[in-house]
Symmetry: C2
Subunit: 308 residues, 2 copies
């Protein structure tokens, strides 16, 4: 039986697992990403997590590996420089894993893996044209078009975080201005709330969301601004690509109606062209396992989701 070793590398956690040929997780492990760790410290923590996942699955032979990792990266070479992990800069993750485990490694952007997972097993099944997106510390996404992954000329397709939503808006860490990510990523939501006098907790998107649930007006306004920005970016994206569905996951999506309500309002105001008019943004279905399941799909459904 084919077993796929899967890894999901993010700034907060290193998730590892083993997946059977049908795409079910038969073992899973999570460990915090070493903070301020150097390249080898992060690598050691990752290997330890992989070993735990292999133990949990009864140490099957590994035939292939699927990996999701925060961007940017050189793709398909798999040299990664995650924005949220300063210890890895041009780190040869694919080659290191390949040497260590002697298996083919397919590595892609973590938001692309989430989108793939939602198409394969989640909210996007049955839809040939969809965007899966993540609103979290960053804002990313992946595109399924004509039933297959579209990842563009350099593997970065689907990155909705840099669609412009406020032409005169805030500088984005990418160097541009008014990008969706600069407005709607968690830290930007928290910073906006603090700037507007919010002091109902730690300056995090999670605390702002909790505060908004109790009715704090500044917190509600901060999430409203983020939700509207997402809705506007989706109006542009659905009109441009004629998509059937958008699935939204990530920490900020947990705000529920506080985010999705303003999102739907802005979408309705801007999505006027006939084929885009009906609302089509829904919460992602797979939760925190999405990254691992999408990584597995790079291997198990490579015909649709892998072409390097």
């Amino acid at each position: 039986m084919q077993r796929v070793l899967v890894v999901d590398v993010g700034g907060t956690k290193l998730a590892t697992g083993v997946v059977d040929h049908a795409g079910h997780l038969i073992s899973e492990h999570r460990t915090p990403t070493p903070h301020d760790g150097d390249a080898e410290a992060i690598w050691s923590a990752l290997v330890a997590g992989i070993e735990r996942a292999l133990d949990g699955a009864g140490r099957p032979p590994v035939e292939a590996m699927g990996v999701g990792c925060g961007g940017p990266m050189q793709w398909p070479e798999g040299r990664v420089s995650p924005l949220t992990m300063t210890g890895w800069r041009d780190f040869p993750l694919r080659d290191r894993l390949q040497e260590r485990y002697g298996a083919e490694v397919r590595l892609h952007n973590d938001a692309i893996c989430v989108a793939i997972a939602e198409h394969w097993q989640g909210a996007g099944q049955e839809h040939a044209n969809m965007l899966g997106m993540v609103v979290s510390t960053g804002v990313g996404g992946g595109l399924i078009l004509g039933g297959a992954l579209h990842d563009g000329a350099t593997g970065n397709g689907g990155h909705i975080g840099h669609v412009v939503v406020e032409p005169d808006g805030p500088q984005c860490r990418c160097g541009g201005r008014g990008c969706l990510e600069a407005v709607a990523r968690g830290p930007a939501v928290a910073a906006w709330a603090v700037e507007h006098g919010w002091n109902d907790g730690e300056p995090t998107a999670a605390a702002v969301t909790a505060s908004a649930r109790t009715g704090n007006e500044i917190a509600v306004a901060a999430l409203t601004r983020a939700g509207r920005a997402v809705g506007l970016a989706l109006a542009s994206t659905v009109a441009l690509l004629d998509l059937e569905l958008v699935c939204i996951g990530g920490g900020l999506a947990q705000a529920g109606e506080l985010l999705f309500g303003p999102l739907a309002e802005a979408y309705a105001e801007h999505a006027g062209v006939h084929y885009a008019r009906a609302p089509r943004a829904i919460p992602a279905a797979l939760g925190q396992q999405a990254g691992l399941i999408g990584a597995a799909a790079l291997v198990l459904r490579g015909d649709r989701y892998w072409h390097a």
Copy 2:
């Protein structure tokens, strides 16, 4: 030898032609679109144009037809309701042509045909991921992704005209607000100039462009605004799709640097993400034959450009 009858239906002209199997036009005819004509008057003018094109090619047997037509339309059924041709509403163009000429008819949006033509024979050759767009009475486009046409769930993919460029901007005729088309289409450019005191000619984009060439400041500002709007929409589009190239045709593109200069400036300000940073917008190469050549490609290169 296979001969393809090709048609390009627009609000200004009805272009018809015959194309050989290599995609060369061996005969071509243009006639003005009957103004205020009813459905059958337009149909008669189109048939007359087709007959002239057939005469010009020595009346070869017609084996298939490729047709581009202004949108919106029911696709792939080919029932068309071009915005600029009020005489045709839900007109069964594909079926009428099929009955009249006894050949298979493949019909698509005219801007999609232009994009296909630029990929097949024009400025976009060698590029697997590109947008071809038309800035004219409307603003439309078509997307080549992974070397093939992506036209979305309902055949409307590539319609960059409804990407939002001014969140609080003008109402768009689509029902949305701040769409690229509402800012940059020719009539909007002329209307903006007139509103700002321009009176150097007829209120058309062509006259505004001519006036800008003589240094008229309001005319220059009107084209600057349109060019910046296109540049901003392209920054979003290239970031989202990781495209290699954008080809821009249509009447307004004839303004040259008056449009492309501000376009490049706005693009540079907003396209910050690393893979989008380098400029990549160029003028289309094929001129007014692009629509016919793209229509031919629907038949002759159906493997890449047709999937209905």
